[in-house]
C-alpha cells in the first residue's frame, strides 16, 4: 500500500471523528415543555413575545438585566431572563428565537435573535395607501 492510501484512510478517519465530535456541540430546537424536561441543556426556542405581560428593563439600575415573557409556538408561556441590554425595538418583534437553557423556573437566554416586521422583506404599501386616502379626501 502506498503512503498516499494510508494518508487518505487516516484523513477519512479523522474526518469521521471530527464530524462526530462536532455533532455533540449541536443543539436542538425545542418548545418550553421540552426545554423544562431537559433542564440545564442548551436549546433553541422559537416563539413570540407575550406583549400583554410585563417586560423588565431598568438600565439605570442594571443595564445588563432584561426579562420578559415568551410564548412558544405551541402556546406555552415562559419567563425569560437575558443578561444584556434590551434589544432595540424588542416590542415590535414579530418572532423570537432564543438560545439558552432552563435554570430553575427561569429560562436563561444566552442569545436572542428577533425578526422584526420586515418591511425590507415583505413589500408593504399600506403606508402609502393612507397618504392616498388623505389626499383623495382633500
Amino acid at each position: 500500500m502506498k503512503k498516499l492510501h494510508i494518508i487518505i484512510l487516516l484523513l477519512a478517519a479523522v474526518c469521521v471523528g471530527v464530524i462526530l465530535a462536532m455533532t455533540g456541540d449541536y443543539t436542538t430546537y425545542a418548545n418550553f415543555i421540552q426545554a423544562r424536561q431537559k433542564e440545564g441543556k442548551s436549546v433553541n426556542v422559537v416563539g413570540y413575545l407575550a406583549k400583554d405581560k410585563q417586560m423588565n428593563y431598568d438600565p439605570q439600575k442594571d443595564p445588563n438585566f432584561f426579562s420578559f415573557t415568551m410564548v412558544d409556538k405551541e402556546g406555552n408561556e415562559q419567563e425569560v431572563e437575558y443578561k444584556g441590554s434590551k434589544p432595540q425595538d424588542f416590542e415590535r418583534s414579530e418572532q423570537l428565537v432564543i438560545k439558552g437553557k432552563m435554570s430553575g423556573k427561569i429560562f436563561a437566554a444566552a442569545e436572542i435573535s428577533m425578526k422584526c416586521p420586515s418591511k425590507y422583506v415583505n413589500d408593504e404599501i399600506t403606508l402609502k395607501e393612507t397618504t392616498v386616502s388623505v389626499k383623495a379626501g382633500s
Binding site: I19, T28, D62, K83, S85, D123, K128
Partner: protein
C-alpha cells in the same frame, strides 16, 4: 392628441410611467441570454470541428456572440443604474432597494442589494474576464470560453423572469411595481405614481462604504473561480493532461488574490459596522465565501506540485471542481432563504431555489462524472513512484488536505439547515430539528485552530524542502533555526502579553492543576498557534533573505506565506486578547450559573457623569443631530496615573440611525491606533417618546406640604395681590394667588404662584393662571378654594422627565492591523506570482 395621451399615459393608461426602459431592459436580458447560448454552442462547435476553416468561422461567430452578450449585459447595467438614479419607482427594483434621500454611494450599493443586481454583477465580471480570456487564451480559448459561456447561460437565466407553465424562471430587475403587487388598490388609479413619493430605501445595515466596494470585489472573485474550473473541465473533456497547467496558473493566482481581497473586505465591514465583536464571526455567509477560496488555494498548490513533479493531477481536478461547486452551493444557501434563521445577512427567498439547486447539481455532476470516467478508464497519467517523506510535494499535498479538512468542517456545520431539510423534513430520520451550537465561535475555533497550527507550520517549513530529489537542501537549516527562534519569541510574546494558556488546551488538565499550564504551555493549542503563526512569518522572512536573496519576483509564494503568517498572528492576538473595557461592576448578581465578567459588557453612562474604563475616563457629553443620523458624543480622556497630566483626549461618535422602518440602528465608532483599536458601540438609548403625565389632586391648607414624584412642595401663604402677567386685564376680577415653594431632592427650590381668578363682572366665572416649573415638568393649578375652611384644592400635573443616558459597550482590539496588513501582503504575493507566471508563459 393621440400622441399626447400615449406619451403621458403609456399604453396601459397609467400616468408618467416610463415603460421604454423596461421594454429595452427585457430585450437586453433576452438578447444577452440568447447570445451567451450561441457563444457556448459555437465555441464548442469550434473546439470539436476537425476542419480548420470551419473552426475559424465558428470561433468568429462565438467571439461575436460573446461580445454581443457582453454589450447586452453592459446595457442592462446602464439601464438599471438609470432606473435607480432617476428614482423610477414604477419599477419594483428601484422602489424596493432605493429611495430619493440616499446619497450617491449608497444608490450604487442599492444596485446589488437585490438578488437580480448581484447576479448581473457576477455576469458583468465574467464578461470582463472573458474579454481578457479572448485576448490571451490562444489555443485554450475555445474550450475555456465555451465553459465560461455556459456559466453565463445559467447566470443569465437567473434574471430572465419568464414563466414556463407555472414555474417562473429567474427574476427580472425590470418588473413593474404594479405587476409585483397587483392586488394593492393603489394601482387602480391611473395616476398612482403621483402617490408613490419615495422608495423603500436601502437596508440601513448596508449603508456603509464597505457595502459600496465589498460586493463588486467579492463577485469579481466568485467570477474568477470559473476559470480554473473551466480549464479543469476542458482538460478532462479533451484528455489534455499537461498543457493546461501553465496557462491556468495566472488565472488561479488572480482568483486567490481577488476572492481573498473580497472576503477580507467583508471582514472589514463586519468589524466596522455589524458589531459582531470582531472581523470574523463564523457566520454562515462568511464561511461560505471563505471555503471556495481555500479550495482554490489547495488547487493552486497541487498545480505547482504537478508542474514540477507530474504528480497529484487528480487532486487538482477535485479541488477546482469543489471550489466552483462551493461557489454555487454558497449561492444556493444564501439565496434560497434557507439560512434565514442562522445568518444575519442572507438574501430573502425569491422562489429561485429549484433553479439554484439544479445548477449546483448540474455542474457538480458534470465535473465529477467526467472525472470518474477518466479515472475509471485509467486515462489520467499517474506516477508510480513512492512519495518521499522528505520531498516538498508530499508536504504540500498534506497541507492541501488540511485545507480540505477545514472546508469539510465549515461546510458541515454551516449546512445545518440543509441537514434539517433532508433528515427532518423529508425523511423524518431525526426527531428534533438540530440547531447551531450554543457557542458558535468556540465550536469553529476549537477545530480550526488545530488546522491553523498545521497550516502555519507547513507554510513556514515546506518551501525549504526540494521537489522530487528526496535530498534536503543545505539552506533548510534556516528553516530549522527560524523554528527554534519562533518558539523563543512565542514564549516572550506570551509572557509580555499575559496570554492565558489555560483557556484552550488539548487535554483537560485544569481539573488537576492550573499551574501545570503555566509550566507546560506547550499543550495549549493557543500557544501552538502562536508558535505556528510566528514561524510562518519568520520562516518565510528567512527564505526571502537567504534562499531567494531578496529577489521578490521569485519569492511571490514566500511573500504570500509571510502575509498569511501575519494574518494568523493578528487574528490570534486581536481576538484572543480582545478586551471589553466597559465591564459593568454594579448590577445584580446573577448567581453562579454565569461567569463573572462574561456577559456584563454593557455599561450605563448618564449624561456628563464620568466612568473609568481601563485607563480612560469616559464621559457621555451629548448628542449631535445630522438627519437621519443621531450621534452620541463619547469623550475619552487618558491621564498619567501618577501626575494626573492629560495625555490624550478624543471624542468618539457612535451613531444611531432613527429609521422609521427598522427603529434604532446603531453604528459603532472606532479610535484607531497603530497597535490597537478602541471600539465604541451604543447598545441602547432611553425611549423618550412615550413620556407619561401623572396628575394628582391634593387638598391642602396654608403651611401644609406634600410630595410629588420628584419634588416636595410647601404651601406658604394665600396672596390676595398676586403678580400676574402684564397683559392680563384684571378689571372687575378678584384674584387669589398661592405662594408655593417647590423643592427638589438635589436641594434646588423654585418659588411659584398659581392664581385663581373670579370674574365678578361676568357671573363669577372662574378661570386659572397655572404655575409651571419647566425644569421639573411640573404644572400646578388651583382647582378650588373653599372660603370657609381656607382649604385649597390643587391639581399637580407632572411630566416624566426625559432621561438622558446611553448604554454602551467599549472593546479594545489589540494588533488588529496585523490582520489587514497580513491579508493585503498575502494577496500582493499572489499578484507577484501571477506576474511571474504570465511572463513565463510568454
Amino acid at each position: 392628441m393621440l400622441n399626447f395621451f400615449s406619451e403621458r399615459f403609456g399604453s396601459n393608461g397609467f400616468l408618467n410611467e416610463k415603460l421604454w426602459l423596461g421594454h429595452l431592459g427585457h430585450f437586453f436580458i433576452a438578447f444577452s441570454f440568447a447570445a451567451s447560448l450561441l457563444a457556448f454552442i459555437s465555441y464548442f462547435a469550434a473546439e470539436f470541428s476537425t476542419d480548420e476553416g470551419k473552426e475559424k468561422s465558428w470561433k468568429k461567430l462565438a467571439r461575436i456572440s460573446f461580445i454581443s452578450h457582453g454589450t447586452a449585459v453592459f446595457g442592462i447595467f446602464v439601464l438599471l443604474f438609470i432606473m435607480i438614479l432617476n428614482h423610477m419607482f414604477e419599477y419594483h427594483y428601484a422602489w424596493r432597494h432605493s429611495s430619493t434621500t440616499l446619497p450617491l454611494k449608497y444608490i450604487i450599493s442599492s444596485f446589488w442589494e437585490g438578488q437580480e443586481g448581484s447576479f448581473l454583477l457576477w455576469q458583468f465580471w465574467l464578461v470582463v474576464q472573458g474579454c481578457v480570456g479572448i485576448m490571451v487564451l490562444k489555443n485554450y480559448e475555445n474550450r475555456v470560453m465555451g465553459i465560461v459561456s455556459l456559466t453565463q447561460v445559467f447566470l443569465g437565466s437567473m434574471v430572465l423572469g419568464i414563466y414556463i407553465g407555472h414555474y417562473h424562471m429567474g427574476s427580472s430587475p425590470f418588473t413593474l411595481l404594479r405587476n409585483e403587487m397587483a392586488n394593492a388598490p393603489i394601482f387602480q388609479r391611473f395616476n398612482y405614481l403621483e402617490f408613490i413619493k419615495d422608495g423603500n430605501g436601502l437596508n440601513p445595515l448596508l449603508q456603509n462604504y464597505w457595502m459600496t466596494i465589498h460586493p463588486p470585489v467579492l463577485f469579481c472573485g466568485f467570477a474568477s473561480v470559473t476559470f480554473p474550473f473551466a480549464f479543469v473541465i476542458a482538460s478532462l473533456l479533451r484528455k489534455d493532461w499537461d498543457g493546461w497547467i501553465k496557462p491556468a496558473l495566472p488565472w488561479t493566482l488572480f482568483s486567490v488574490a481577488v476572492l481573498g481581497t473580497g472576503i477580507l473586505m467583508g471582514g472589514a465591514w463586519a468589524y466596522e459596522s455589524l458589531s459582531f465583536g470582531g472581523f470574523w464571526a463564523w457566520d454562515p455567509v462568511e464561511n461560505m465565501s471563505f471555503v471556495p477560496w481555500l479550495m482554490v488555494v489547495a488547487g493552486l498548490h497541487m498545480m505547482l506540485v504537478y508542474k514540477y513533479t507530474k504528480q497529484s493531477l487528480v487532486s487538482i481536478y477535485v479541488f477546482f471542481i469543489l471550489a466552483f461547486g462551493l461557489v454555487l452551493y454558497s449561492t444556493y444557501l444564501t439565496r434560497s432563504g434557507r439560512l434565514g434563521d442562522t445568518s444575519v445577512h442572507a438574501f430573502t427567498d425569491e422562489g429561485l431555489e429549484p433553479q439554484l439547486l439544479s445548477y449546483l447539481l448540474f455542474f457538480m455532476a458534470l465535473g465529477f462524472i467526467l472525472l470518474f470516467i477518466r479515472v475509471a478508464q485509467k486515462q489520467i497519467p499517474a506516477q508510480q513512484k513512492e512519495e518521499d517523506l522528505k520531498s516538498r510535494e508530499f508536504w504540500m499535498f498534506i497541507g492541501s488536505l488540511v485545507l480540505l479538512l477545514s472546508v469539510i468542517q465549515m461546510v458541515f456545520t454551516t449546512s445545518i439547515p440543509v441537514w434539517n431539510l433532508i433528515f427532518h423534513d423529508q425523511f423524518h430520520w431525526i426527531k428534533d430539528k438540530i440547531a447551531p451550537p450554543e457557542d458558535v465561535v468556540g465550536h469553529y475555533n476549537k477545530i480550526q485552530i488545530m488546522l491553523g497550527i498545521l497550516a502555519g507550520v507547513f507554510t513556514g517549513m515546506v518551501q525549504y524542502l526540494a521537489y522530487r530529489s528526496g535530498k534536503v537542501p543545505a539552506s533548510a537549516k534556516w528553516g530549522v533555526y527560524s523554528f527554534f527562534i519562533s518558539i523563543v519569541l512565542a514564549i516572550a510574546i506570551a509572557l509580555s502579553m499575559k496570554i492565558d494558556f489555560t483557556e484552550q488546551h488539548l487535554i483537560d488538565l485544569t481539573s488537576i492543576s492550573n499551574k501545570l499550564f503555566i509550566k507546560f504551555p506547550f499543550i495549549s493549542t493557543q500557544f501552538m498557534f502562536l508558535v505556528a503563526s510566528i514561524y510562518a512569518v519568520l520562516g518565510n522572512l528567512c527564505y526571502l533573505f537567504f534562499v531567494t536573496k531578496g529577489n521578490l519576483k521569485l519569492g511571490g509564494g514566500a511573500v504570500s506565506h509571510f502575509g498569511f503568517g501575519l494574518f494568523l498572528l493578528g487574528a490570534l492576538i486581536s481576538q484572543g486578547k480582545k478586551e471589553v473595557i466597559s465591564i459593568n461592576r454594579q448590577g445584580i448578581n446573577f448567581g453562579k450559573e454565569f461567569k463573572q465578567n462574561e456577559k456584563l459588557e454593557n455599561i450605563l453612562l448618564l449624561k456628563d457623569s464620568m466612568i473609568v474604563m481601563s485607563n480612560y475616563e469616559v464621559t457621555y457629553t451629548g448628542t449631535k443631530e445630522e438627519a437621519p443620523n443621531h450621534y452620541y458624543l463619547v469623550n475619552y480622556l487618558r491621564k498619567d496615573s501618577t501626575t494626573g497630566k492629560l495625555l490624550e483626549q478624543f471624542t468618539l461618535m457612535p451613531n444611531a440611525q432613527l429609521n422609521p422602518k427598522m427603529g434604532l440602528l446603531a453604528n459603532p465608532d472606532t479610535k484607531h491606533y497603530w497597535n490597537k483599536d478602541v471600539f465604541t458601540h451604543v447598545s441602547s438609548v432611553p425611549d423618550n417618546t412615550h413620556l407619561k403625565d401623572t396628575v394628582s389632586i391634593v387638598t391642602v391648607s396654608v403651611k401644609d406640604s406634600f410630595y410629588t414624584k420628584n419634588s416636595y412642595i410647601i404651601v406658604q401663604s394665600l396672596n390676595p395681590t398676586p403678580t400676574i402677567p402684564n397683559n392680563f386685564d384684571k378689571s372687575g376680577k378678584m384674584l387669589v394667588g398661592i405662594d408655593l415653594v417647590v423643592k427638589t431632592l438635589d436641594k434646588k427650590s423654585y418659588p411659584v404662584q398659581p392664581v385663581f381668578v373670579i370674574d365678578l363682572a361676568h357671573d363669577n366665572a372662574i378661570s386659572y393662571i397655572p404655575a409651571e416649573v419647566k425644569e421639573l415638568g411640573l404644572v400646578i393649578n388651583i382647582e378650588k378654594i373653599d372660603p370657609q375652611s381656607k382649604k385649597v384644592t390643587l391639581s399637580v400635573r407632572e411630566t416624566e422627565t426625559a432621561s438622558d443616558f446611553i448604554i454602551m459597550k467599549a472593546i479594545v482590539f489589540p494588533y488588529i492591523n496585523l490582520v489587514w496588513l497580513g491579508g493585503i501582503i498575502t494577496f500582493l504575493g499572489a499578484l507577484i506570482s501571477m506576474i511571474r507566471r504570465i511572463e513565463e508563459n510568454k
